[in-house]
């Protein structure tokens, strides 16, 4: 039966349907400062390092840039010294689901896309890229919130996904006076993108992300003396754990953020983080609404 095959909305889609075609490229001899500028300006989490002959030799991610800051590398150090490589590749016609699975098994955040033959890389696939597709297909689903607004959906709202079902129920916090070095230790120790900064009484004040840290690197701030409160962005964008996932996703996209902090009952009581990666990993194949309605592409 066909329904058994289409147990997941991403079935039938290929990497090429979801990938981004703009790849930010630098050369191994470019300085660290150049990579920081690119991540800020192009709003990407990593840059590809390739040769003049367009051969991909490595990747420099925000994590690598943050580690360079922590280790005290000069901003003019060539990227060669910190790049990780070569990049993990996939084919544009590979099933999207397979690509996602391979990202998950290898614990990597992006795949570069290379067609067969002597062609250069032509795209990059990261979790947030899939969110748009999910949005498209979930909206078609008669149980989506859009459907509800249009009055076409069934009255079966217990099955709607809530933030708490998808979020990472772990929260790393730092005090406002902790140094940037300490914040970086927390981030790399827990493999996170941002920490919540709280005041002396435990109230959330703001957020320090990898992006804020590498901007601090660029501005020459000493990570061993500057405090988290000096560079944090705030107040943190937050939602309640019982909010609808679809609506929370919309808030994240409208505000152009990658993550939202999740509280229980009161904003002071933070319990987790919801990132676009969480939302993409928890793709609609496992969405209850989707499983029961078995929508087809």
């Amino acid at each position: 039966m066909q329904t058994a095959t289409y147990k997941n909305v991403l079935a039938g889609l290929t990497v090429a349907d979801a990938m981004r075609r703009q790849i930010v490229r630098l050369s191994a001899s470019d300085p660290i400062s150049q990579a920081i500028r690119c991540t800020i300006k192009f709003k990407v989490n990593a840059v590809l390092i390739d040769t003049d002959a367009q051969q991909a030799v490595g990747v420099v991610s925000k994590t690598d840039l943050m580690s360079a800051y922590y280790a005290g590398f000069d901003l003019e150090t060539p990227l060669e010294a910190i790049m990780v490589g070569p990049p993990t590749l996939c084919r544009p016609d590979a099933p999207l689901d397979e690509a996602l699975k391979s990202m998950q098994t290898h614990g990597i955040h992006r795949l570069y896309v290379k067609p067969d033959g002597p062609h250069p890389l032509n795209g990059v696939l990261a979790y947030p890229d899939i969110v748009g597709l999910l949005y498209r297909f979930c909206r078609r689903c008669e149980k989506s919130t859009t459907g509800r607004k249009l009055g076409t959906a069934k009255e079966d709202w217990a099955e709607m996904l809530r933030v708490r079902e998808v979020m990472t129920p772990k929260l790393i916090q730092a005090g406002r006076d902790q140094t940037l070095s300490e914040v970086m230790e927390l981030l790399s120790g827990h493999r996170l993108g941002a920490v919540l900064i709280h005041d002396d009484t435990g109230l959330p004040l703001g957020v320090v992300s990898k992006t804020d840290l590498i901007a601090a690197y660029m501005h020459g701030l000493d990570p061993t003396t500057v405090a988290a409160a000096d560079i944090m962005k705030g107040p943190p964008l937050a939602c309640e754990e019982n909010d609808l996932l679809s609506e929370t996703l919309w808030v994240m996209i409208y505000n152009d953020v990658y993550r939202m902090f999740v509280y229980r009952d009161r904003p002071e009581n933070m319990v987790g983080v919801l990132s676009l990666s969480d939302a993409a990993r928890f793709r609609s194949g496992s969405c209850k609404a989707c499983l029961s309605s078995r929508i087809q592409l």
């Binding site: 400062s33 500028r37 709003k43 947030p128 748009g132 949005y135 909206r139 996209i253 152009d256």
Partner: protein, 157 residues
């Protein structure tokens, strides 16, 4: 006439510093464009010793303004995005020019032939090129000036 950069370059050029905010840069760009003369869509960025360290242009600003989830917006046709432009304006005004300026620059000397500049503008997709003499900035060539000079020659007898 020698037909070089020296003839078409502007020698009265404001510059930005890497620690100038995007808001301040926007104010300078707006003031420049309120005055008669060529439209200015990009400025040179210099350090404390007036050495050229980058260019800050319209394209850098457009990239900075573009939301990182832009590719998803196309899917979200059922959602009202009004007010987003104002929100973007507010969120980028505090960014420093030095964080987003372009640093892989192409420069010429006052002796560079105008057709060489035409070639560079075509190949490198740039609309303005700083003119340096022994490492010191002496002017900037705008595409519009090159264009006007070309028109003169097309129309001359």
């Amino acid at each position: 006439m020698p037909e070089t950069a020296a003839e078409v370059m502007d020698t009265d050029f404001p510059t930005l510093r890497p620690d100038t905010t995007v808001q301040e840069a926007a104010r300078i760009l707006q003031q420049l464009n309120d005055k008669p003369g060529p439209r200015v869509f990009g400025l040179m960025v210099t350090d404390n010793e007036n050495r050229l360290v980058g260019m800050f242009s319209i394209y850098d600003l457009l990239l900075l303004a573009r939301p990182k989830h832009m590719h998803i917006y196309g899917e979200m046709t059922d959602i009202d995005f009004s007010g987003l432009l104002a929100k973007v304006g507010r969120s980028i005004r505090g960014v420093l020019v030095g964080d987003v300026m372009s640093t892989n620059l192409i420069t010429v000397t006052p002796e560079t032939h105008i057709l060489m500049i035409v070639d560079l503008m075509i190949k490198k997709h740039v609309r303005r090129i700083p003119v340096l003499e022994e490492g010191k900035i002496v002017g900037i060539v705008y595409l519009s000036r090159v264009f006007r000079r070309l028109l003169d020659h097309i129309l001359s007898e």
